[in-house]
Amino acid sequence: MTMALVVGGLFATGVYLMLQRSLMRTLLGLILLGHGTNLLLLVSGGAPGDPPVVPEGASGDGDRFADPLPQAMALTAIVITFGITTFLLALAYRSWRLAGHDEVRDDIEDRRIGTVGERADAEPAALPPDDPAPDVPAPEDPAPDGGPR
C-alpha cells in the first residue's frame, strides 16, 4: 500500500508538472514520472525478496529472491531517463538562448492552418474552381452547327 501510494504520488506530481508551459518544469515532471514508473515496475514484480545474487553452488530456485527482470528493466529505464533529461535540459537552454525564457509558446503555424479558408494567400490552383463546367456550352452560344433547324 505504501509503495502504491508513493507511485501514485509521483505520477500525480509528475503529470501536474508536465502540463505546464515551462520546459524546466516539464523536465522535472518527467523525472518524477520516471521515478514513479521505475517503482511501478519493481512493485508489480511481486513481493520483495533477497537481492537476486545467487552464490555459486546455491540453488536459484524458489521465491527467496526478488524477481530480477523488473530490476533489469528499471535499470535500463533509469539510464534512458538520464539521457532524456540531459536532452530536455539542452532544449530548455536553447530555448532560453533564443527566446529569453524556457516556455513553450503556442504554435502559431497550427492556428494558421485552421484559418486557411479565410486567408487570401492560399494557393488558388490548389482547389478546383467553382465556376460552371467547361464541358457544358453556355446557353447563349450560337447554334453549334449550321445544320437544318
Binding site: 504520488g9 536459484g60 539510464v79 485552421g114
Partner: protein, 947 residues
C-alpha cells in the same frame, strides 16, 4: 509471362534516360516489348483456345500466402491481344505524332502496356490490385505530362482521385471476398464462388472500383476531362486499354457471381444507364475528342452490361464488342489526332471540307465509324447482333427492359458515329474550307490497320468466333429452344435484324435533326453533372479538413499533453474497472523500513510541484531520486539503488551546470484559473489510477506466476548476479539498443548546445604553461595539484578541493573498474562502473575546469563513445563467425597461479563496451556544459531572438 511484364517495365525505365536526340527511335524501341507480347500471344493462341490453360507462378513469400500467379485463359488471351496489338500501333503512331518529352512518353506507354498485360493475366486478387493501381499512377503521369498546365494537372488529379477512391473500395471488396472464399486465387474463387454473408457487400465494392475505372455513371466525369492528354495517350489508355480494366474485372468475375443477388441489377442498371447517357451527352459535344470520350463512356457501359449479364450469348456479344471497340475507337482517336495535327483544331464548328482534302483519312474514319455504328458487314454489327440475340433469348431477369434500353442507346450510338464523321469531314455552310494539306501517312497507317481489321473480322465471323467463343462457352447456355448462337452476318430475317434496322433509322433521324436534338438537350433538365459533383466533393473534403484542424490543432503543448494524459487515465481506469480482479486486503507496508523514505519522497515531490525557485525544484527532485534509491534498497534491488544514486548525482550536477545560465525563478504563470484546475484534476486522477494499477498488479502477481526462471539459470552465464546477467547476456539486445539511444541523445544535446559556433564553442584543451621562473622563492610550488586548474581564474580555485580531488581521482577510477568486473558476482556492472568513472571526471571538471578535464582524459571523447558502442556490437556479432547465434556468450573456467580458479565470460567484453560508452557520454556532456559556461551572458534581445 512474368518475364514479359518485367521486360516492359525495364524498357519503360530505360527509355526516358536515352538522350533526346534519339528522337523517333525511342518509339520503335518502346514498341518491341508489346510486339513480343503480341507474337507470344499469337503463338499460344491455338492451344489456349483449344482449352489449355497456361499457368505460371512465383512464390514470393509463401508463408504469407503471397504468390505471383499468372494465368492465360481465353479471356486473358483476348485482352492480351488487344492490349499488346493496339499498344504496338499506338507506339508507332506516337513516333509520327511526336510532341515533347518523347522518351518519357514512350517509356510510360510501354510500361503501361506491361502493367495492363500483367493485370489481365494476374491470377491473384492482390496481384491484380497492384497492377490496377499502377495503371492508375501511369495514367496520372501520362495525363499530367512533365510540366503540366493547370488544366492538365487538374484533369490528372481528377482521374487519379476518382480511380484511386474506387480502387480502395475495390481493395476492401477483394479482401472481403478473399476472406469469405478462403483463397485469393481468382481461378479458384470463380470456380467455387462463396455465397451469402459479406459477399454481396464485397461485390458492390468491387463493382464500384470497376465502374470508376471504366468511367461509368456517376463516376464518369474524369474521362472527358482526361482528354487534355496527348492523343496517343487518349487512344491507348482512355479507349483501348486502361478503361477496359473495369470491363475486364466484370468479365472475370461474371462466371462466378453473375447469379449473386446484387450483381445483375447493378451491372445492367449502371451499364445501360451509362450507355444511354454517354451517347446522349456526346450528341451535343463539339470537340471531336470529347465526342469520342463520351462515346467511350457509352460503349464501356454497353460492355459491362453485356459481360455482366453472365449468359452465353450476351457474353459472346460482349467479347466481340470488346474487340470491335478496341479497334474502331483507337482508330478514331488516331484520326482525330491526325486532324488536330494537320489543321490545328478539333472543333467541328471550325472544320469543313476535310473529306475532300484527305480522302484516304476520311475513308479510314468512315470504316471505323461504321463499325461503331454497327453497320454490316463490320465487326460492330456482328457483335451487336449477338447482343440483341442475347437479351432477347437468354431469359435474363429484366431482359426485355435491357433490350429496350440497349436498342435506344444503340440508336444514339449510330447518331454519334454520324456526328463524328460529319463533324470531321463534311462541308459546312458558312465555314471556310480547309486548305490543301499533305496527308501524314506515318500517322495514317497505324489508324488504318485497326479499321481494316474491323472489316476483316466482320466479313470473316468464324475467325472472330474462334477468338471469342471459348470464353463465352464458359457460361451456361440459357438460350432454350434453339441451338447455340454462332456469330455471323446473316441470320435470316428475324427480330434482331429488325432491331438493327430500327437503330439505323433512329440514328439517321437524330443526325438529320441534330440542331433540334441539341436544343432539346438544353431545355431538358440536365442529368447531374459529374464534374460538379466531383468539384463539390473535393471542396467539401478540404473544408472539412480545415474545420477538423481548427478544432484539434490549437497549437498549445499543455493542451495536447492534457488530452494525451486524460486519454491514458480514462482508458486505463476503464480497463481497471472492467477487467481487474478485486484486490482484497492489502498490507499497509511490506516492511516498516519502506515508510520513512516513502514519506520523504512524497513530501519532496509535492514541494517540487509547488516551489517557484528553480534551484530548489532541482534539489528537491534530487532528494526524490535519493529517496527512491533507498526504496530500491529496501525492496532488495541493490543494483538499481546503486545506479539510481549515481545517476541522480550526475543529473544534479549537469542540471546545476546548465542552470547557471537560467533565471532563478520560473516564469510566472499566466494561465487562467480554469486551466490550473483542469491540470490539477488530471494529475490527481492520474495518480489515483496508477495507485490502483500498482495495487492490482501486485496482487495479480501470485508467487506461483509463471516467469522466466532467471535466478534458477543464472549460473549458465558464468555469473551470480541475475540482474547483470540479464543485462549483458539474457537480454543483451535490449542493452545494445539502450546504449545506442544514450549515444544519440548525447549527440542531440551537443548539437543543441553548440549551435552557436560549431566545434569552436567547446574550448580547446591547451597545455598549461609550465612554471618557468627560476627566480621563484623556495616555497613557490614546483608542481600543481591539478595541472589544468591554472586555467581557471584564481577566485574560482580552492586548494583544499584540488588536493582532495588529486588524491581521490585514481581511487575512484579503480573503484569503477572494480564495479565493472565484479558486476557478475555482486552489485555493479558496466553502467554502474561507467557512472562512477564519470563522476571522477565530473569532479576533475568541477575543481579544475575544462582544461584539467582534458588532461585527465587525454583522448577524444568521441572515440570513447563510439568505441564503446563498437566493442559492444563486435562482441554481439563475433559468435556469428563461430556459427552461434548473435549475442551468445562463452564461459571459461581457468585456474591461474595466484588467483586460483577464475570464471571468465565473453559477456565481460560487452560490459566493457557499455562502460566505455557511459564514460564517453559523460565526457561529452561535460564538454557541452563547458560550452554553456564559456558562452557569454545572454546576448542582447535583438540578436538573441534570431536563430
Amino acid at each position: 509471362m512474368l518475364v514479359l511484364v518485367v521486360a516492359h517495365l525495364v524498357c519503360a525505365a530505360v527509355l526516358p534516360l536515352l538522350p533526346s536526340r534519339t528522337g523517333q527511335a525511342v518509339w520503335l524501341i518502346a514498341a518491341v516489348p508489346p510486339l513480343a507480347t503480341f507474337l507470344w500471344a499469337v503463338v499460344w493462341a491455338r492451344r489456349v483456345l483449344d482449352g489449355e490453360v497456361l499457368h505460371e507462378g512465383v512464390a514470393w513469400a509463401s508463408t504469407l500466402g503471397l504468390r505471383l500467379d499468372f494465368r492465360l485463359d481465353p479471356l486473358a488471351l483476348l485482352l492480351t491481344l488487344v492490349v499488346s496489338g493496339i499498344g504496338v500501333l499506338v507506339l508507332a503512331y506516337g513516333a509520327a505524332y511526336g510532341g515533347e518529352d518523347q522518351g518519357r512518353q514512350a517509356g510510360l506507354l510501354t510500361g503501361f502496356a506491361g502493367l495492363m498485360f500483367g493485370l489481365v493475366t494476374a491470377d491473384n486478387l492482390f496481384v491484380l490490385y497492384v497492377f490496377w493501381e499502377l495503371t492508375t499512377v501511369a495514367s496520372f503521369l501520362l495525363i499530367a505530362g512533365r510540366r503540366p498546365s493547370t488544366e492538365r494537372r487538374r484533369a490528372a488529379e481528377q482521374s487519379l482521385l476518382t480511380t484511386v477512391a474506387g480502387g480502395l473500395a475495390m481493395l476492401l471488396g477483394l479482401v472481403m471476398l478473399g476472406q469469405a472464399a478462403g483463397t485469393y486465387r481468382i481461378s479458384a474463387l470463380v470456380a467455387d464462388p462463396p455465397g451469402g454473408g459479406v459477399v454481396p457487400a464485397a461485390l458492390v465494392l468491387i463493382l464500384i472500383g470497376a465502374f470508376t475505372k471504366s468511367a461509368q455513371y456517376p463516376f464518369h466525369s474524369w474521362l472527358p476531362a482526361a482528354m487534355v492528354a496527348p492523343t496517343p495517350v487518349s487512344a491507348y489508355l482512355h479507349a483501348a486499354a486502361m478503361v477496359k480494366a473495369g470491363v475486364y474485372l466484370v468479365a472475370r468475375l461474371a462466371p462466378g457471381f453473375a447469379d449473386a443477388p446484387v450483381w445483375r441489377p447493378l451491372v445492367l442498371g449502371v451499364g445501360l444507364a451509362s450507355m444511354t447517357i454517354g451517347a446522349w451527352h456526346a450528341l451535343r459535344e463539339n470537340d471531336l475528342k470529347r465526342i469520342l470520350a463520351f462515346a467511350t463512356v457509352s460503349e464501356l457501359g454497353m460492355l459491362i452490361a453485356l459481360f455482366g449479364a453472365g449468359t452465353r450469348t450476351a457474353v459472346l456479344g460482349g467479347a466481340v464488342m470488346l474487340l470491335a471497340h478496341a479497334l474502331f475507337k483507337s482508330c478514331l482517336f488516331m484520326v482525330t489526332g491526325l486532324i488536330d495535327r494537320t489543321t490545328g483544331t478539333r472543333d467541328l464548328r471550325r472544320l469543313s471540307g476535310l473529306g475532300r482534302r484527305m480522302p484516304v483519312v476520311c475513308g479510314v474514319a468512315v470504316l471505323a465509324a461504321a463499325s461503331m455504328a454497327g453497320l454490316p458487314p463490320f465487326i460492330g454489327y456482328v457483335g451487336e447482333d449477338a447482343a440483341f440475340d442475347g437479351y432477347l433469348n437468354d431469359h435474363l431477369p429484366g431482359g426485355a427492359w435491357a433490350l429496350l434500353w440497349f436498342t435506344v442507346a444503340s440508336g444514339l450510338t449510330v447518331a454519334l458515329a454520324a456526328r463524328f464523321v460529319w463533324g470531321a469531314f463534311a462541308r459546312k455552310p458558312g465555314v471556310p474550307d480547309a486548305g490543301p494539306t499533305p496527308t501524314p501517312y506515318g500517322m495514317l497507317w497505324p489508324a488504318a490497320v485497326p479499321a481494316a481489321l474491323g472489316v476483316l473480322l466482320g466479313v470473316w465471323p468464324s475467325l472472330t468466333g474462334r477468338l471469342t467463343e471459348p470464353w463465352a462457352d464458359m457460361f451456361h447456355d440459357t438460350a432454350a429452344g434453339h441451338a447455340s448462337y454462332h456469330l455471323g452476318i446473316w441470320h435470316g430475317i428475324g427480330f434482331t435484324l429488325l432491331l438493327a434496322l430500327l437503330t439505323f433509322a433512329m440514328g439517321a433521324v437524330l443526325h438529320a435533326w441534330r440542331a433540334q436534338v441539341i436544343a432539346t438537350q438544353r431545355r431538358l433538365p440536365r442529368p447531374p453533372d459529374g464534374q460538379l459533383v466531383y468539384r463539390r466533393t473535393v471542396r467539401g473534403t478540404v473544408a472539412l479538413a480545415v474545420r477538423v484542424t481548427r478544432v484539434t490543432q490549437v497549437g498549445s503543448l499543455p493542451a495536447y499533453l492534457a488530452v494525451v494524459m486524460a486519454t491514458v487515465v480514462l482508458l486505463s481506469a476503464g480497463a481497471l474497472l472492467v477487467g481487474a480482479s478485486p484486490v482484497g486486503s492489502v498490507p499497509l507496508w511490506q516492511s516498516i523500513a519502506e515508510v520513512p523514505p516513502a514519506l520523504v519522497v512524497l513530501a519532496c515531490a509535492l514541494a517540487v510541484a509547488l516551489t517557484r525557485q528553480r534551484l530548489a525544484a532541482v534539489l528537491l527532485t534530487g532528494a526524490v531520486g535519493y529517496g527512491v534509491a533507498v526504496l530500491f534498497v529496501v525492496r532488495g534491488a541493490p543494483d538499481l539503488a546503486l545506479t539510481q544514486f549515481l545517476v541522480e548525482t550526475l543529473t544534479l550536477v549537469v542540471t546545476a551546470l546548465m542552470l547557471r545560465r537560467l533565471p532563478a525563478r520560473f516564469t510566472p504563470e499566466r494561465q487562467p484559473l480554469g486551466a490550473r484546475w483542469t491540470r490539477g484534476v488530471i494529475a490527481v486522477a492520474a495518480g489515483a489510477v496508477v495507485t490502483a494499477l500498482a495495487l492490482v498488479a501486485t496482487h495479480a502477481r501470485a508467487p506461483s506466476s509463471r516467469r522466466p526462471d532467471y535466478t534458477g539459470r543464472v549460473h549458465e552465464t558464468g555469473a551470480e548476479n541475475a540482474v547483470n546477467a540479464i543485462i549483458v547476456d539474457f537480454r543483451a539486445l535490449d542493452t545494445i539498443g539502450e546504449i545506442s539511444v544514450l549515444m544519440i541523445t548525447t549527440v542531440g544535446v551537443l548539437s543543441l548546445v553548440r549551435v552557436w559556433g560549431g566545434a569552436a564553442a567547446v574550448p580547446a584543451v591547451r597545455e598549461p604553461a609550465a612554471v618557468t621562473s627560476p627566480a621563484a622563492r623556495w616555497d613557490a610550488p614546483r608542481e600543481r595539484w591539478l595541472p589544468g586548474a591554472g586555467e581557471l581564474p584564481g577566485t574560482e580555485r580552492s586548494v583544499l578541493l584540488e588536493v582532495v580531488t588529486r588524491a581521490l581521482f585514481s581511487s575512484i577510477v579503480v573503484l569503477s573498474l572494480f564495479l565493472l568486473f565484479s558486476g557478475h558476482y555482486g552489485p555493479g556492472g558496466g553502467f554502474a562502473g561507467g557512472l562512477v568513472a564519470g563522476q571522477a571526471f565530473v569532479l576533475r571538471y568541477l575543481v579544475g575546469g575544462h582544461a584539467d578535464l582534458g588532461l585527465a582524459a587525454p583522448t577524444n571523447p568521441n572515440r570513447v563513445l563510439g568505441g564503446g558502442l563498437v566493442i559492444a556490437a563486435v562482441v554481439a556479432l563475433v559468435p556469428v563467425a563461430f556459427g552461434h547465434a548473435p549475442l551468445s556468450a562463452a564461459v571459461w573456467h581457468l585456474t591461474l597461479p595466484v588467483l586460483g580458479e577464475v570464471h571468465a565470460s565473453t559477456s565481460v567484453f560487452f560490459d566493457i563496451g557499455v562502460y566505455l560508452l557511459v564514460v564517453g557520454v559523460i565526457l561529452k556532456l561535460l564538454g557541452a556544459a563547458s560550452a554553456v559556461a564559456s558562452t557569454p551572458e545572454r546576448a542582447p534581445a535583438g540578436e538573441g531572438a534570431t536563430p
